[in-house]
């Protein structure tokens, strides 16, 4: 059962990347995450939001939507855009694949999301946009004896 919900919408401005990851991190504090788990969430959100700015909207202004749900000890995150979409998702999520090698891009964004989160999925339709789903499961709180 969903016990808390957050929806954020903002312009795909580079300066909103820090705001977005910090907001999601603040939202999941009620799950008592470890610093390592919190850092994983921040990094994964930063990757997803950066993709919206850099790839989906290619520097043009667009709307990025982040929805978060807390369910038991899990945080579900959905990051969506209405940008140009990904032609080949299987190729895009391969480690080191980048569509913009000249820009010093590492091609590790999706790999980081996949590695740092417990569940990860991408849906994309060319010309309509991309949705990234990620879930982080936090360990249940241990009661101090």
């Amino acid at each position: 059962m969903t016990t808390n919900y957050l929806k954020l919408q903002f312009y795909s401005l580079p300066r909103n990347q820090a705001f977005a990851r910090d907001a999601v991190a603040a939202f999941c504090l009620e799950l008592n995450p470890t610093l390592a788990d919190l850092s994983d969430v921040k990094t994964a959100v930063s990757e997803a939001v950066t993709n919206c700015t850099v790839h989906a909207y290619k520097g043009n202004l667009g709307i990025v939507t982040i929805e978060c749900e807390i369910e038991d000890n899990s945080l579900h995150i959905k990051v969506s855009d209405t940008g140009r979409g990904i032609a080949d998702v299987t190729k895009a999520i391969q480690p080191f694949y980048t569509s913009a090698p000249s820009d010093e891009r590492s091609g590790m964004g999706f790999t980081i999301m996949q590695t740092f989160m417990d569940e990860f999925n991408v849906n994309s339709i060319q010309g309509e946009g991309t949705v990234v789903y990620m879930t982080k499961c936090f360990k249940a709180e241990v009661e101090n004896a």
Partner: protein, 103 residues
């Protein structure tokens, strides 16, 4: 993102401080490259990440870019003191095989 540097014993020490993401990386690139270009007489470069509070995959791209630049100048590049989270990303990327960790 703050970038500072100094030279000691023919080594260029570059310290980064702040959050490294797509937004802040461009400025860091420019400042870092200027430090390298201004100190061509050194024999190696060490980038100190101790004060980088946050880093995403932009950091990997940034470091590979500086590695390419240093390689063109035949200067070995090292990374020192990444925090736990930065170290996790750098390990995942395999970057330490190109830019080893210095003590």
């Amino acid at each position: 993102m703050k970038v500072t540097g100094f030279v000691k014993d023919k080594t260029l020490y570059i310290a980064l401080s702040g959050e490294m993401d797509e937004c802040s990386s461009q400025e860091a690139r420019t400042k870092c490259d200027k430090l390298i270009e201004d100190n061509l007489s050194v024999s190696k470069i060490i980038i100190n990440l101790a004060d980088v509070a946050f880093m995403d995959s932009t950091g990997i791209g940034f470091l590979i870019g500086r590695y390419k630049k240093a390689s063109r100048l035949a200067l070995p590049l090292y990374i020192t003191k990444p925090n736990f989270a930065a170290d996790k990303i750098l390990n995942l990327s395999g970057i330490y095989s190109l830019i080893p960790k210095a003590e």
